[in-house]
């Protein structure tokens, strides 16, 4: 299958001469289009290493730019700007400012793993996307995405109780992202669900609001996990030099 990628030439760099005459011949118009060259000087040499240090990014160095990931990508099929191959290239060459142009869509990877399936070099592009989105947030380039907020609410509940009750997770998510729970489509869904449900089931669902499902004897696991997670977080902060950044900012103030 051929690889289709949207042109990576920026529209503002296309130069078309409206009125130009060369040796008495009119050469105006789009056929004499030039691409303005650009000079990149601000390489971020630490970027690849930092992203590789975050979970999922470990194998980014294996990439040889075949483009199988972008070719198979679910999100790329509905938004041509979503281009894992190109982002991996930018990360590996340290072109941070170029990567930041797409900072607001990188989190949209749906983890379908088609890229990981297709990749001949076991880069695990899905992991790289997650690591990159995480890196953007840790470095303060983007606020926490809705996806990250959902992941955190979900994981917090798993860590606390061992289990998930989906109604509670959804309500907390809507609240924390400032969205109204009364969305027309959500109401319609509940209406359709209630149409056929017996009383017993409704009672069970109602009770779940008050009684959180729990894994019995979970406290040992909970404490062990919390300790591990905070260690990992400290490690990521160290690798990305976040504490130094904060200190430097404080000194300036």
């Amino acid at each position: 299958m051929p690889i289709h990628e949207k042109s990576l030439i920026r529209p503002e760099n296309l130069k078309v001469q409206e009125n130009i005459e060369l040796e008495g011949i009119d050469v105006s118009g789009h056929w004499s289009t030039f691409i303005e060259s650009r000079v990149v000087t601000d390489y971020n040499e630490a970027m690849e290493e930092e992203i590789a240090a975050l979970p999922g990014g470990e194998f980014i160095h294996r990439c040889w730019q075949c483009g199988s990931c972008t070719n198979s990508c679910t999100v790329n099929a509905i938004n041509a700007d979503f281009n894992p191959r190109y982002w991996i290239y930018l990360i590996r060459t340290g072109m941070e400012s170029e990567l930041l142009r797409d900072k607001d869509i990188i989190w949209q990877c749906v983890s379908c793993n088609k890229c990981t399936y297709a990749c001949p070099r076991d880069v695990v592009p899905e992991g790289v996307m997650k690591a990159t989105a995480h890196w953007l947030e840790l470095k303060g380039h983007t606020p926490k995405s809705h996806s990250t907020i959902f992941d955190e609410i979900f994981s917090e509940q798993v860590i606390e109780t061992g289990k998930i009750e989906d109604g509670r997770t959804i309500r907390r998510y809507f609240k924390q992202t400032g969205q109204a729970l009364r969305q027309p489509w959500l109401e319609e869904m509940v209406k359709r669900l209630l149409r056929n449900l017996p009383i017993g089931m409704l009672t069970r669902m109602g009770l779940a609001n008050f009684i959180t499902p729990k894994t019995a004897g979970w406290s040992g696991a909970r404490d062990a996990i919390k300790e591990y997670v905070s260690e990992q977080e400290a490690h990521h902060r160290k690798v990305l030099g976040l504490d130094d950044l904060v200190k430097a900012a404080e000194n300036e103030l």
Binding site: P55, V110, I164, N196, G217, Y228, V229
Partner: protein
């Protein structure tokens, strides 16, 4: 493993329903249990199980997900002395398989799991202690097509079905070493176990090109517009292929299809009529179980009139 050995081995399995099957996917739970009972297969629910990590915990830390999944397998192996775990949910199935692969191949994962297990106070799961299978493997390897044909009471004849497997059942390939393993094994590019079973029950499977397409389940709430577009693509393609029903085998796919079928209608004006039914519900009804017995009333999309019309109720 020989087919006859599997048949023997899967008669009694540790059953891991997972969180979704206790909530939004309860119809899948009910129909899986009803099907097992009808087929004389024993399900022993994993004692005091925990969440496998779903699609969210790995984004906090992948090894934490490995630990969560390993705890379920450890309970099945060490406490219940079982050697097979059956998970109907694609997410649980995938995560247990992934944990199995990582624990077999990665020392760091083994170290983290060992450390967390010891602190949590239970035995560390060792790779190879249990075999994780999907509900599709379970029915296919114990009863199989021939067994189903003998047991069918209400044939699914005249029902056109698009079989939808989603992402987690086949991807990434390396965590499913038993797939793509020659004749009789499941294919990761064109899975067919669900097609085989429904075909044996009399259904007419349509040629559906989006069997392993993504429904956007991981971002079903956090990026709903993307999910709605992905789902309406699946629904419209199924209808274009002539399907009246999309058969599902994953609670996230199932509720994603149902939810975004409504959302597509409300936000994009795309209305589709294709029914969304778990394969366990279809098989159960084919074997003579009443629609309520397989939880048809717990689906959001209403298919009561449809199954009545097709002679299944």
């Amino acid at each position: 493993m020989k087919k006859s050995d599997k048949k023997e081995k899967y008669q009694e399995v540790a059953y891991y329903p997972g969180c979704a099957l206790e909530g939004s996917g309860h119809a899948y739970n009910r129909s899986t249990k009803a099907l097992g009972e009808k087929l004389g297969l024993k399900l022993k629910e994993v004692d005091n199980w925990n969440c496998c990590g779903a699609m969210e915990v790995k984004n906090i830390d992948p090894k934490l997900q490995t630990y969560l999944s390993s705890r379920v397998m450890s309970t099945a192996a060490n406490k219940m002395k079982m050697d097979v775990v059956m998970a109907p949910c694609n997410g649980c199935y995938h995560n247990l398989k992934k944990a199995e692969y990582d624990l077999e191949n990665d020392q760091d994962s083994r170290d983290v799991v060992d450390r967390l297990s010891k602190k949590a106070g239970h035995e560390t799961y060792q790779a190879g202690q249990v075999e994780t299978i999907h509900a599709l493997d379970w029915v296919k390897d114990t009863i199989g097509e021939e067994g189903l044909k003998e047991r069918v009471k209400n044939s699914l004849e005249g029902i056109k079905i698009a079989n939808y497997y989603g992402c987690m059942y086949t991807r990434p390939r390396h965590i499913f070493p038993e797939k793509d393993a020659g004749p009789g094994s499941e294919s990761t590019s064109k899975p067919h176990f669900m097609d085989d079973l429904l075909d044996a029950a009399g259904a007419e499977n349509v040629d559906f090109p989006l069997k392993t397409a993504c429904c956007g389940g991981a971002h079903t709430l956090s990026d709903s517009d993307t999910s709605t577009r992905l789902v309406s693509n699946i629904l419209q393609t199924a209808e274009a292929a002539g399907a009246e029903v999309i058969a599902t085998e994953c609670p996230t796919c199932h509720s994603g299809l149902e939810m975004h079928q409504i959302r597509a209608e409300k936000t994009l004006g795309i209305k589709t009529n294709v029914k969304i039914i778990y394969f366990t519900q279809l098989l159960g009804m084919a074997l003579g179980l009443k629609p309520k017995k397989v939880g048809l009333h717990e689906n959001v999309s209403d298919s009561f009139d449809f199954v009545k019309k097709k002679g299944l109720a």
